[in-house]
Symmetry: C2
Subunit: 277 residues, 2 copies
């Protein structure tokens, strides 16, 4: 059944949002809507304009027989700053400070809208870059990894501190925790990551960066390359094992029980936006 433009625009928007960072051929849409490719092109021009105006993301059209349309979710600097400011206000609460100076963040990292926005913001750094998989460490990094992987439309893999019977053969590495200098072990199922993968490492919180350094080692053990590292929050640390990372928040607490907390923006502005100028 031939479709009207209004109907096509609704369905096309839905389809593109569910298939980010994949080339969709004009033929696919032409057949789906039984409509000439020239009309499809006009539809896509409208979608592109609205996505651009509203800051939803970027829509690129590639001409020719092998061409098509490619949607990349993006978050603009203004929306990103407003979002991070909101999160800062939310985290700047003395009730979040736990004994030892740890910060309670699990509520935020369990909210679908916070995760969706964080995923879109962190993925913005990797426009046009090839990423095959997102890697995180169990448990608290998982929601964030899933959120970023969803925007990048690639699988995510979970590194664990123990070998589980449901994971099959695993490759494990030892690593030094940054602050306490203990030797720990982490492992990843052999089946979960293809050799040669380009990997983005994502985690919820980074202090010295020992866990992230461990994951970097693991990526190399799998014959892969680390494309980048992104964390929700960085804490203060006397030692810093990782220099090349992107953070949304910078959080400082006092390790005693006074419950003081200082939250500021992380380095996302300089890492994601200013380098593009």
């Amino acid at each position: 059944m031939k479709t009207r433009r209004a109907d096509r625009l609704v369905d096309m928007t839905h389809y593109l949002l569910e298939h980010p960072r994949k080339l969709v051929s004009l033929n696919f849409f032409a057949e789906r809507y039984e409509t000439a490719k020239s009309s499809i092109s006009e539809d896509l021009a409208i979608v592109r304009r609205v996505f651009k105006t509203r800051g939803t993301g970027d829509l690129k059209t590639y001409p020719g027989a092998a061409g098509g349309v490619f949607y990349t979710p993006l978050m603009g600097e203004e929306e990103a700053t407003a979002f991070v400011d909101e999160v800062i206000a939310e985290v700047s609460n003395e009730d979040r400070v736990l004994p030892g100076g740890y910060v309670y963040l699990s509520d935020l990292l369990g909210q679908p809208d916070v995760l969706r926005q964080t995923g879109r913001l962190l993925s913005t750094e990797y426009v046009g870059e090839e990423i095959d998989a997102v890697m995180t460490a169990a448990t608290k990094g998982i929601p964030l990894a899933q959120a970023v992987a969803s925007e990048l439309n690639v699988p995510f893999v979970i590194v664990r501190d123990d070998a589980k019977v449901t994971e099959g053969s695993m490759i494990s590495v030892n690593y030094l925790t940054g602050s306490s200098k203990r030797v720990e072990k982490m492992a990843l199922s052999k089946r979960s990551l293809r050799s040669g993968s380009r990997v983005l490492i994502v985690d919820d919180f980074m202090k010295a960066g020992g866990t992230i350094q461990g994951m970097q080692t693991l990526v190399r053990e799998f014959g892969g390359t680390v494309v980048g590292t992104a964390v929700f929050a960085e804490g203060r640390s006397n030692v810093r094992l990782i220099e090349d990372f992107t953070s949304l928040l910078h959080v400082e607490t006092t390790p005693d029980t006074t419950g003081q907390i200082k939250v500021a923006a992380g380095n996302y502005l300089s890492r994601i936006y200013q380098k593009k100028d």
Copy 2:
């Protein structure tokens, strides 16, 4: 700036998809697009028709000053069956059988599109039902819980087998594992679930159901109510502690090393679709 219908349709579709199961007032759209409410109503009629035809979900409009529009993501029976058939074919692979008869599923549960579709399918059972939170047990249930919570637009909480310094005070319960009859412990951060919450329990794999029974106990300890239980796959078990659950897959393996696996559809058809007839 007043907007054209075509532009409004694209942005409205995007907005509704990102805000499922929330009442959005017509005034909100009228102001966002500087357009009369009558035109907004016509726009929404188009979106509703396309969402219905394409099986995206249900769009309800409530008239009056306190009214608005409410989008519920849904998966129809036909799409659900096609999706589950695909997953069955994918899981029916002897290479997935691990020593002890365990089944490797982590690759599937790390794919954004599989998770998105599973989330939409499992949430379809709860159209029109009030749910305040999704609960799961670390580690492998997390991606699924997040996917379902995203469609329901509610937070998800993660039950752990240990108390972590980053979770603050926790409430813990002991539970019996179904098959081996060991006593285990699980705990949830006190801050993460409000008293009186209506909770949907989600997990990746269920055999006897000991873990799920433990979570049910935990929900009651928090003064909440269990609305339902949904799992990606159920295995065979001589003991069954949980009768009231929904599953996508039924998986049977032999515990020896012959690697045999039999995968069939779970009970989702009778639980989600046939009861609605």
